[in-house]
């Protein structure tokens, strides 16, 4: 029997998706702990601005940004291919799934572009 193919999955194979999901998960956890720690120390505008002017914070933030994009795509892709399928709904399933994928891809794209602009633009 043929191998199950999936052109819209991020890594194109199961192991890659799985690994990316784990690694990005760890990066996100680390980033959110870092932000929580920064906030817990008390923030005002100057200190927050000073924090994000440091290059390593920008790089770390960018990493978290891209991780979130990949993590969200893999996670939502799995949800969509569970519930919006031809098997469950006929061709409507395909239409809904592809449309949702386009909307999600667009959303993630806008999010990444805006994020990069905010981080490096000012």
């Amino acid at each position: 029997m043929d191998m199950v193919t999936a052109v819209t999955s991020l890594g194109r194979n199961g192991l890659a998706d799985w690994l990316i999901q784990r690694v990005t998960g760890v990066i996100l956890l680390a980033y959110f702990l870092f932000i929580a720690w920064a906030i817990a120390g008390g923030v005002d505008y100057p200190s927050w601005k000073a924090l994000f002017e440091q290059t390593w914070v920008k790089v770390f933030s960018l990493m978290a940004l891209l991780s979130l994009a990949a993590h969200a795509w893999i996670g939502l892709w799995a949800v969509l291919t569970d519930y919006l399928t031809e098997r469950l709904m006929g061709s409507t399933g395909n239409f809904l799934r592809i449309t949702s994928q386009l909307v999600i891809a667009l959303g993630i794209f806008i999010y990444v572009v805006l994020g990069v602009q905010i981080l490096w633009g000012y």
Binding site: M1, M3, L15, T81
Partner: protein, 234 residues
Amino acid sequence: MLQVSIYRYNPETDQQPYMEDFEFDTQGRDLMVLDVLEQLKARDSSVTYRRSCREGVCGSDGVNINGKNGLACITPLSATVRKNKLVIRPLPGLPVVRDLVVDMSMFYAQYEKIQPFLQNNTPAPAIERLQTPEDRAKLDGLYECILCACCSSSCPSFWWNPDRFVGPAGLLQAYRFLADSRDTATDERLSRLDDPFSVFRCHGIQNCVNVCPKGLNPTRAIGHIRTMLLTRAT
């Protein structure tokens, strides 16, 4: 009186499935769920289910008992009846043929996909392929599966993708051959599993472990397959 409720559906006469209630006198005995079904069938011969060995070996009477999949023949009433109620439904997620009988084709198709037979491309020895006791021990907890489908039909990932996710039963058997020292097709086997669905639709919620009447652990086997895929790729 035990209140028994059974899922009934005869596609030839019923518009849709319904639950039929029976009163059942256990006479104080702790019967197996299958005994109850047998006696109800004696009362109403149209009650339909599969059974064969009646001792948990053949795997044909997997049903959903009070919300949990199990073999009717080895589930005593005392282990499942609460508040005097016994609700029996077909295994979830598979098409119903009639009453408690489900169509297992999708389940078997996944089993077929993992090529559940020994493959060895070296010349056959005169008598048999030997295996050390240590290597043989690696198959314990894998070979005992009776293909009852209790696990796969309790797995949400299998409900949504029974055509693409191999499911816990199939994956347990996939690992049974991956772990076999006499099998030489390991690499091909792994290649056939390395897509986003066959193995990786497992999200580790362990419904399969929770229901297996043979006490097997498909989630652990799936973890081993994942590790093998990872080691091979890195």
